[in-house]
Structure formats: structure tokens, C-alpha cells
């Protein structure tokens, strides 16, 4: 009898459990449907592969896509209404911590440097206004990107933390979310087209409530970039160019599908490794680099501002063609300017490249990022 009663109870419980599971599944699918409905609008992003922005009425949905899977890694629902939930992010955001120089550059183009309350290290800052704010104590230095002092960050009362995405949650994401600080991944560094990198200014535009200004700025640099590319297409010669430097045992040269290789293609040059696959770097031996580049004309981005510093560690690089021809250029003209502004001003990198590689057609008036390595 007891056994029978237990069996009945068991089946009764199982029925209840099944019902709950079915109801949950139906509710979950409805939620997903709702979410998908929200994302059926037009994506306004044109070049950036890892950013989607969809406007629908008063709500803007921003998706940060994973470079590995292409799936949405983070979804941000932005609203200008007052909210007290983590499901929505109220914009404009009044205070933000940004952990990469490129983020500072993008905010500077929107005149929103005042919104920054946290950075990694003042040694990597170019923007004078931000340096002044650090001096005045308005901005805290948080140190290493993955090891920030959480309490110092919370003390700034910032609402968002923007970090360079790496495929996982930010190390203190759960604690920061609980403290109503939204952690947002930024994959501008993984973009493969120079304009794709620059287009991440739209993210900052929407966060700061300056989406119109961001769109206008992006359209302007897009037009300038495409105009330069068009002019370069009419050139007849293809000067040979080597890019990168030795690090440890290998020379890391941009792979054929990378952002840097794209810039070289657009600058109408012959880059030895343009047909290789990959969006990152190619590890090449020094022997291979030497045998491929004994007659190469230019060397760009050696990573050191002077020959003295360059050859202190790599004396053997003196055999490379561009060294004997004295045609080495580096991005070190103005300290951290390149790191802060190159992502948001790709037209100026292209302009510098054209002046360096095609000096007759594009005279070197005043290079913006680059200078000759002497």
C-alpha cells in the first residue's frame, strides 16, 4: 500500500515537473522570439564586422559580436528613459572607464573626454585634456587591464567599463554588474578593414548620446578614405614594402587579410605576404625575411623611433633592403598619438602611406603619424 502510494506520488510529481518544464520552454521561446523581434530592424553598421546597431523607436539595441563565432556576445538595450534594472542601459552615460587608447581617441572626436573617469595608465595617453584631468584627480589610473582595483573603479561612480574584448566575460563582470556598472567588450582591435575599426565610434556615440555627431564624423572620414583610395588606384607603380619587426625568434608580419595588409593594399604597394591567409600576424624566420626582402624598398612600422634603438637589439636588420636604402618609417612622430588616434583616423594613416610610398604623386607636406627613422 505504502509502495503504491509512493508510486502515485512519484508520477504526480513527475507530471507537475513536466508541466513546469513545458511552460518554461514555451515562455523561454516567447522571450527569445521577443528578443529576435527586437533585432529585426536594419543594422546601421556597414564596415565593422563585430558590431551591430539596430534602432527601433525609442530603443536602440547594440550587439557586440564574437569574432570567433559571429554570434552576439553581448546585447545592450539603450534607452533614454530612467531605468533601475540591468536589462537596460540608460543613456547618455555620465561616467565611463575606458581601458584602451583607441577608446580615448574615439571619445575625443566626440568632445566627450570629460566623461572619462578611469584609464589604465597615463603613460599611454596623448590627449592633453585627459592628461589635465588626471593631474586634477578627476580620472583614476586603474593599471593592468585585467587586474583593475575594483573599489577604486566603484569610487569613481562610473556607469560603464569598456574593455578590449577577448572572448570571455570581463574578470570582475559579475561583481561590477551587481554594482550597476555595465562592462562592454570592444572588438575594434579585431576588425580587418580600417573603416571597420573607425566605425566603432558609433558605439561611443550612442553611449554618450552623440550618435548623430558620431555618424557625421564617420561619414566624413569614410569619404576622405575612399577618395584617397580612389586616387591611389590610378597610380601605375607598386613600390615594395616590408612591415613589422622581429620579436623573440620570429618576425611578425601582418597576414594578407589583416587590417594592416588592407591599408597597404589601399596604398597601392606590393607587400610580399599579401596573398597569405589570416587576419592576424604571420610568424616568419629572420632568414626568410632577409631572403625575401633584400631588395625591398620601404620598411614601415619597425616599432622604434631611431636606428640606434632599432639596431641595439637587432643589429642584423642592417642587411634588409630598406635599411641600405634609408627608407624606414615609424608611427612614433608624436608619442602616443598613433595608439590613440590611428583607429579613428585611418584616412590619415593612408594619407601618410601615400606620401611615403608615392612621394612624387603625393608630396610629403606634413606627415601626421609617421616620421623617418634616422
Amino acid at each position: 500500500m505504502l509502495k503504491n502510494s509512493r508510486t502515485v506520488d512519484y508520477f504526480y510529481n513527475m507530471k507537475i515537473l513536466s508541466l513546469v518544464l513545458i511552460l518554461s520552454a514555451v515562455m523561454f521561446s516567447c522571450d527569445s522570439q521577443k528578443e529576435n523581434d527586437n533585432l529585426t530592424g536594419e543594422n546601421i553598421v556597414r564596415y565593422a564586422k563585430y558590431l551591430r546597431i539596430i534602432e527601433k523607436g525609442n530603443l536602440t539595441t547594440i550587439e557586440i559580436l564574437s569574432p570567433e563565432t559571429g554570434e552576439a556576445e553581448q546585447t545592450l538595450n539603450l534607452t533614454k528613459e530612467l531605468v533601475k534594472t540591468n536589462h537596460f542601459l540608460q543613456v547618455p552615460v555620465s561616467k565611463m572607464a575606458v581601458l584602451s587608447s583607441t577608446h580615448v581617441g574615439m571619445l575625443s572626436k566626440l568632445n566627450e573626454i570629460d566623461k572619462i573617469v578611469g584609464i589604465t595608465n597615463r603613460l599611454y595617453v596623448f590627449n592633453e585634456e585627459l592628461l589635465e584631468n588626471i593631474e586634477k584627480g578627476k580620472v583614476v589610473e586603474l593599471g593592468e587591464e585585467g587586474q583593475i582595483p575594483v573599489e577604486s573603479l566603484l569610487k569613481t561612480k562610473c556607469k560603464t567599463l569598456i574593455y578590449s574584448g577577448f572572448g570571455k566575460e570581463y574578470p570582475y563582470q559579475k561583481q561590477l554588474n551587481a554594482a550597476m556598472v555595465k562592462c562592454i567588450a570592444n572588438y575594434d582591435w579585431r576588425e580587418v578593414h580600417p573603416l571597420g575599426k573607425a566605425e566603432w565610434i558609433l558605439l561611443f556615440g550612442y553611449l554618450t548620446g552623440k550618435e548623430k555627431e558620431a555618424k557625421i564624423y564617420f561619414d566624413k572620414i569614410e569619404n576622405e578614405y575612399l577618395a584617397l583610395e580612389e586616387k591611389a588606384k590610378k597610380l601605375k607603380n607598386y613600390p615594395t614594402v616590408l612591415e613589422g619587426n622581429l620579436f623573440g625568434e620570429s618576425w611578425f608580419a601582418p597576414a594578407g587579410e589583416s587590417f594592416k595588409a588592407q591599408l597597404l593594399k589601399d596604398a597601392h604597394v606590393h607587400y610580399q605576404y599579401v596573398d597569405t591567409k589570416g587576419t592576424g600576424s604571420l610568424p616568419l624566420t629572420l632568414e626568410k625575411i632577409l631572403s625575401d626582402n633584400l631588395d625591398t624598398e620601404h620598411w614601415i612600422n619597425p616599432g622604434f623611433p631611431t636606428k640606434e634603438k632599432l639596431f641595439t637589439f637587432h643589429p642584423k636588420l642592417k642587411y634588409l633592403g630598406p635599411v641600405t636604402k634609408n627608407k624606414i618609417y615609424d608611427y612614433s612622430k608624436s608619442g602616443n598619438r598613433y595608439w590613440e588616434l590611428s583607429a579613428i583616423e585611418p584616412q590619415k594613416i593612408l594619407s601618410d602611406y601615400l606620401s611615403i610610398f608615392h612621394p612624387t604623386e603625393f608630396p610629403k607636406k606634413n606627415l601626421y603619424f609617421y616620421q623617418e627613422v634616422k
Binding site: P283, E287, S291, T312
Partner: protein, 333 residues
């Protein structure tokens, strides 16, 4: 008598393996170069021929540097193990490499002119190695237990690593990059015209080490016995530190800090040769160290087009299983 014959045979075997390893090293680069081109690069050098440049300026200095680094670090490790009567001793464990790293970090990243002499990196690395060697030596007069001394060496290493981290955090990007490149360790940075200077210092340190073979053998018996045999303990201790600092600082300056060799090779040599006689151990460490690092560098070169492996990683990846195998085998016997 049998063991003497065996050890002579083993030394002979190392001498036979040596040229095979050396020839393989010359042939291991990514660019395929014929043996006749190797000859031409020396007999009729053409500076516009990339293959000639690769032979004379890339493969030859790299090979010589590998031999010098392997030999020097192994011999230093052996002398340290004898001095402190502990198989765990070595220039890396006792913080001598860390001293070099700290001074190179100060030299590269702080811009203090006092450290930026004509010799630049070399003098910084040598000064660092020598100062840390002297610190360990002076402590060793008060602390007799080998384990305590090793612990102090490890603490010195940790202390200097922490200081290096602070300096790295405060330094500007270019200096930081230079230091990061240096600390990764590499055998391919030395130029052919730097080799004579390096070789002279190496020979000086190595000759000095061979001249103290007899006191080293006496140290194996214990300090009391060594005194009874008429050995000046203080003088020999100082000489060991001087030669070790010179050789370690020299190699660290030109190749970056290379770990493991100073610890692994002397232990491997002792296990294989089954002797405490430094007349055997010293030349065996010298040849064995050169062969070991040359073999590791062959792996670095063969894999470089797919995986850029630092020499430090390969020495540990190859050496650690070898040492474990020989220890287990000896215990089983």
C-alpha cells in the same frame, strides 16, 4: 679502473656527437643552402648574395653563441652545485641571472646615465650578476645550510623580479618593448663582429674554472677536508663567484636570461658519468651543455615557421623529461 675507462669512452662519445649536432644546426635554417654555398660564403663572400649573408651573419654567430651559452651556463651550474654542495644550485636558482635582469631593466627602462656606459647592456648584466653573486657569497659565510641558502637565493630572485615588475609598470612603451624582447631570450641577436669580444671573456672565465678543478674536487669532500688539504676556502669561493658572475653575466647580456641549462646539464652529466671528479665533470658539462643547447636550437629553428618557440621554453621542454627519466632510472637501479 672500469669506471675511468667508461667515463673516457663517454667523453669520447660526446666528442663524436658534437660535430653531428653542429652540422645539423648549420643545416636547420628555413632557407635551404647547399654545402658548396657554405664554403663559398667563406672563400668568396658576396655581400649582395642573401645566402652568403645568411651563412656568415646569421647561422655562424648563432651557432657559436649557442655553444658558448650552453657551455658557460652548464659549467657555472656545476661550480655552484659544488660550492653550495647542493644539486639544486645554479646561477638561475641562486638569483645571479635575476641580478643581471634587474640591472638590465634599470639600464634600459630608467635611463639613469650611470648604468649606460659604452658597454651598455653587457656592463649592466655583468654588474648585476657580480653584485648578486657577492650578496649570495656574503650570506653563505653566515648561513651554512645549503637549503637555507637556496631559499635565500630564491627570495633574492623574487625580490628582483618584483622590482623589475615595478620598473616595467613605470616605464614608457619603447623601453618596455626593448626589455620585453631582451628577457624573452634568443640566440640570434649576436653579430659576427661581437664574437671575438665574447669569446675572449668566455675563454678567460672558462680557463679560470679549469684552473680550480683541484679545489673543486676538495670541496666535494667537505669544507673541513678541503682546509686540511691546504685549500683557501675564502679565496676559492670568491673565485667561483667571480667566474660564475662573469660567464653568466656575459651570456645573459647577449642572449637574455636562459633558464634550466645551468641546473639540468650538470645533473645529467653527474647521473650519466657517475662520478664526482671535476676532471671529468667540467669538460663533460662544457661539451654536454653545448650539445644540449645546440639540439634545442635546432628544434627552435625547425619549428619557427609554424610555432615561434623561445629557446627558454625548448630547453625546459626537452631537459625536464630527460632529468626526470635519468633520476627515476637511477632510483630503480
Amino acid at each position: 679502473m672500469i669506471s675511468q675507462k667508461r667515463n673516457r669512452f663517454l667523453l669520447l662519445l660526446l666528442l663524436v656527437i658534437m660535430p653531428i649536432a653542429f652540422i645539423s644546426h648549420f643545416a636547420a635554417g628555413e632557407i635551404s643552402i647547399s654545402w658548396s654555398t657554405f664554403g663559398d660564403a667563406w672563400i668568396s663572400f658576396d655581400s649582395s648574395n642573401p645566402e652568403h649573408i645568411i651563412v656568415r651573419e646569421f647561422r655562424f654567430p648563432r651557432f657559436i653563441m649557442a655553444c658558448l651559452a650552453g657551455s658557460a651556463l652548464s659549467v657555472c651550474g656545476l661550480m655552484m652545485q659544488t660550492l653550495f654542495n647542493n644539486p639544486l644550485a645554479g646561477p638561475y636558482i641562486l638569483g645571479i641571472n635575476s641580478g643581471s635582469s634587474l640591472f638590465v631593466a634599470i639600464s634600459l627602462m630608467t635611463g639613469l646615465s650611470i648604468f649606460q656606459s659604452d658597454f651598455g647592456l653587457v656592463s649592466s648584466a655583468l654588474i648585476g650578476a657580480f653584485i648578486f653573486g657577492l650578496i649570495i657569497l656574503s650570506i653563505s659565510f653566515k648561513v651554512k645550510q645549503g637549503v637555507s641558502l637556496l631559499l635565500i637565493g630564491l627570495m633574492l630572485g623574487s625580490f628582483s623580479s618584483a622590482l623589475v615588475s615595478v620598473i616595467q609598470y613605470l616605464s614608457e612603451a619603447n623601453s618596455l618593448k626593448m626589455f620585453t624582447m631582451w628577457i624573452m631570450g634568443s640566440l640570434q641577436l649576436v653579430e659576427s663582429d661581437q664574437l671575438p669580444f665574447i669569446s675572449v671573456l668566455f675563454l678567460f672565465g672558462m680557463l679560470g674554472s679549469f684552473l680550480i678543478i683541484k679545489p673543486l674536487n676538495a670541496f666535494v669532500l667537505g669544507e673541513t677536508e678541503a682546509v686540511l688539504l691546504g685549500i683557501s676556502i675564502r679565496k676559492i669561493r670568491l673565485l667561483i663567484i667571480v667566474f660564475t658572475a662573469l660567464l653568466t653575466g656575459l651570456i645573459t647580456a647577449y642572449c637574455g636570461p636562459i633558464a634550466f641549462i645551468g641546473l639540468a646539464v650538470p645533473n645529467l652529466v653527474k647521473i650519466i658519468f657517475k662520478t664526482q671528479d671535476h676532471r671529468i665533470l667540467l669538460p663533460a658539462s662544457l661539451i654536454g651543455g653545448a650539445i644540449f643547447i645546440v639540439l634545442c636550437d635546432i628544434i627552435v629553428q625547425l619549428t619557427a615557421q609554424w610555432i615561434p618557440l623561445p629557446i627558454n621554453a625548448v630547453t625546459s621542454l626537452i631537459g625536464a623529461p630527460m632529468v626526470i627519466y635519468f633520476i627515476v632510472k637511477r632510483l630503480a637501479q
